[in-house]
Symmetry: D2
Subunit: 335 residues, 4 copies
């Protein structure tokens, strides 16, 4: 079927490629003309403005947004004046689920349908397909099924889940209609929250292995330093090899571990990285949702906070503690 893609960055461009390869006709637009040109060379139909994009595709038109969440509303506002009843906007970015609900509500009187589609897969999606978590009206989601089916990974080589034969949904194909407007991004939001937690679990584990030689270093003996209870942490663990061995037969095997093993194979001391870890919104919203639900989420929250902390040289909290220690105990900070 026909689909317009707005936003041709890392993910948008590869989704277009995946769609064209499977016989869909793609119309493409991006602020950066070079991105448009590149896909036109590969068979897409380009546009130099949103208006032109709208004019080229057949009705009912479907526009897939693959742009930063922070500018989605702006681009919707630019696009909508050119749209008509029954047109569809699919937001494949990382929008906040409440923005989805609001947008669906705002577009409804115009007869425009809004679908939110959480998309996971990163730079590997072209090859592996993208896991899609979809929210919106049932009929519209069904109408778009051919597009979702193509973008999603399909059954592929992943073993079927015993006991799941009886279920009639598309989850085994790698895409799922999760519920009404916002439900797709809600599930994707939690997905990213889980991702933070899983990443941090590996990170901390490798961190503990990395310091398993700590007793080889001389430590000070004074009232400011925790006294040693043992002196035997003298292991020099080959962390790249551990990441590799855990990939086979162990309980913690995963795709993130595969990637970690690859990163460590290429750069064993991780010297390419300073350790400043960004967060792009969904981790924060996951915690806010947990709090609204009164559900404790210690692990996911700690993973988020570790990212906050990684981007700072010191915290104000630490300074307050340091000041208190000086006040009650005359303790001066260690250099």
């Amino acid at each position: 079927m026909q689909l317009a893609m707005i936003g041709l960055g890392r993910m948008g461009a590869n989704m277009v490629r995946r769609l064209m390869k499977d016989g869909h006709q793609c119309f493409v637009y991006d602020n950066n003309k070079e991105n448009v040109d590149a896909l036109v060379k590969e068979g897409a139909i380009g546009a130099t403005s949103l208006e032109e994009l709208v004019s080229k595709i057949e009705k009912p038109r479907a526009f897939w947004f693959m742009i930063p969440a922070a500018i989605t509303d702006k681009v919707i506002n630019e696009l909508v004046p050119h749209l008509e009843k029954d047109d569809i906007i699919i937001d494949g970015g990382n929008s906040y689920f409440r923005d989805d609900r609001r947008r669906a509500q705002e577009l409804k009187p115009k007869g425009i349908h809004y679908v939110d589609c959480g998309t996971s897969g990163g730079v590997w999606g072209l090859e592996r397909g993208y896991c899609l978590m979809i929210g919106g009206e049932k009929e519209i989601v069904q109408h778009l099924d051919p597009v979702f089916k193509t973008i999603a990974p399909g059954k592929g080589s992943v073993a079927p889940t015993p006991g799941r034969e009886k279920f009639q949904d598309t989850a085994q194909e790698g895409y799922l209609h999760c519920g009404a407007a916002g439900a797709g991004h809600f599930v994707k939001m939690v997905h990213n929250g889980v991702e933070y937690g899983v990443m941090a679990a590996y990170g901390e584990g490798f961190g503990i292995l990395n310091s398993a030689d700590c007793h080889k270093k001389k430590r000070e003996v004074d009232a400011e330093t925790a006294p040693e209870m043992h002196n035997d942490l003298d292991y020099e663990i080959d962390i790249a090899a551990v990441a590799e061995v855990w990939r086979r037969g162990s309980v913690v095997g995963s795709w993130l571990l595969d990637l970690t093993a690859q990163a460590l194979a290429e750069n064993p001391d991780l010297s390419n990285f300073s350790g400043k870890v960004s967060d792009s919104g969904e981790g924060r919203w996951t915690i806010m949702a947990a709090i609204e639900e009164a559900v404790s989420a210690e692990v996911l929250t700690s993973a988020l906070y570790a990212r906050f902390r990684s981007r700072k040289e010191y915290t104000y909290a630490d300074k307050i503690c340091s000041a208190m220690r000086f006040m009650f105990g005359g303790h001066h900070e260690k250099k």
Copy 2:
């Protein structure tokens, strides 16, 4: 080669099967005679006592222990009087790494070699192979290589890690000599710590999805109840389907997720489980190691604490907080 297996529970018995299938000759012993008999029927050579076990196998003898960590020392003490110089004890259980160091030290004057072998794979190991993390003397570990190679998963269908071709270790076969005595169990200990963290990350995420309909329930309006800021959490997420869809193309795909999807396919409301989660030692030791190393491990610790908490109806800490609230604010507990 010849190997004696002591302890024929879930894991020990399957390791014997895996070894025999690959042509090794296995001598088996267990407190429970039925366990011995079952394997004898499959081709193993049984023994009714440790002494008999020792007498049957050729020198230098190798004894693999697959028993609860709490009784390992006891069984070593029973076995050692029957051993001679150059015999080998392999502890495949979940021993504390400092116990390994001590045992290696204690057995050294007798010329007996001690190898610690952290083993992951659970009930699936017969089919998938067991991931092995090994500590001990280099020559002894090399001598046992045929056994490790058989028990480990091998390269199998897991894709090779790009960039890892140049490495000369056995990690790609699923087993790894991690260092001197204790190093194997140290790495396995951290493995389990990571396992707790990854499990809790999924658990919390699914928990947030599970409460995504919380605003459908009526809530009280009084000074004791946090006022609602929103009223739109009305999603009824099909969690079994989400677990399934995340298996394909998403960043959080993993073997633990595969198993979760299977558990949910078979028992969608998890009614088989009360939520009391055991911990078997290695998670605790991981945190203790982190603290000795002065490495923060928020995520792994929270995962451990959630298990502690799951086994209690209430905590003393909660009672203290409840008592304080009554004292300063006259707040009475909600029923």
Copy 3:
């Protein structure tokens, strides 16, 4: 000066008493007529409706709300039609700071001034005075200074802070103008967040003391139970006595500890409490603010989550972990 109090619960009634004792003239209203009558007997001027309340007090009128945050907007909407330019609404409850900002904005065109006043002190405020954290327009806050001065504790017997003589604010009297609309409740919100953290710190500490005899109990020896590394935790600590001794000379002395010591003196085994700990909103908002600021707040978040957890028999996260353990290891839950 004259002041109208709306809401005569635990805190509102005592604030009226404190004001009258210091010579202010108080006009009082509450849904519950008995609460009004009680204060009329003590000298307040009662009203049976908001309209009557407005009619009795002199202009410019000041109305102090001491009601649950969840109904504040409703009562404002009922009151405002009776108000005139230059009247003042003071919200002494636990409103969300963004509601304050909105209300101040909405009331501005009508010439009505809005002041938010975070109030700490609980049932002890009549005697100790209430700590006041105030947000709003500078002139209005100054106009209300006589009221704040009376309600606040004053210098009292608390020792002056060395080095603070040079500061010209009212902080030493126990009340503070923190900034524009919402600033008062923002500071009060964080105050409550800190309160949760401090309470939980004591709670956990006493919890560790309470289990210091754990090795006196027999434990199981099996692969599902963490093996003991020590067997010496046989202390039976008198927790009430510890709370008492920490009150003198120790670093952790505090008013919350004083109250804990009192609770334990009266009810040493805390049998009056089940451990279900409510949260009333400000703890949640504190964490949400921390996340918006990208400031890690591990301790305050854990304190909040412990409250969530205290009100549940089990969590879904725990069930997921339990299900995983069964799937990979055949582990059955302990009874």
Copy 4:
């Protein structure tokens, strides 16, 4: 009575002063002769060696150690050859409770008594007295009562706890016999764990207030940056004033808050501190004890980990997360 003090640092010297002021006869020793001389000038009897110290004091002799925990065993070993049956060693430092148990056991055959005495009070103890948490044999602790009574704060100006009149212990005087050998340091250990938690709670709260102006700063709009949900955090909170106002009438008043207010009055921007926070052992042991007891201690653990983190520029865990993000999403770290 007579008492020998070994270790004349900040705390030891002031304890001698407090003892002499109350009529006790003090014998003093320190590696640093200047410390001895200073106290001799104030009336103490000095010694230039442990042997000389022992020779001067009357039997049964009591030796109070006020030295770093890491060297306690060494000094005990030097002292013991000069001691006789019925002599007493009191360890007032921060020893691990299991070292106390071992020492008591080792000294028992010699008839030497060992008392562990956790001591809180810091540089303020001379004036305020020291809170003492004592472990050891009942008769020995009673024999030393006059010394404990002097060093402890006594009832002082702290209000008695209602309901505590009926209790017959010395807790109201600021010292407490907590149990057998190690019990004193166990309680002191937990005290310090609580101290970490309370400090961190304040630290985090003030940190959130300190960033309450975060929306005044321009933020980037790209897929790597969490999009803003609000733009109104524009409060410039006077944190020193908030610390001061919370001292009066609020729920979070405490001695640590008093000291924080003082530190902020003297150095409002905390420019004297870099935020590197030491930990001296007892916080770590508290968490280890919690884990042994299977008691969750999220808050105290987070407070400890924040200290670990404060002393590092980056963590290995952060680097691993950063590497993963690059691998799956092509995300490059922010500069």
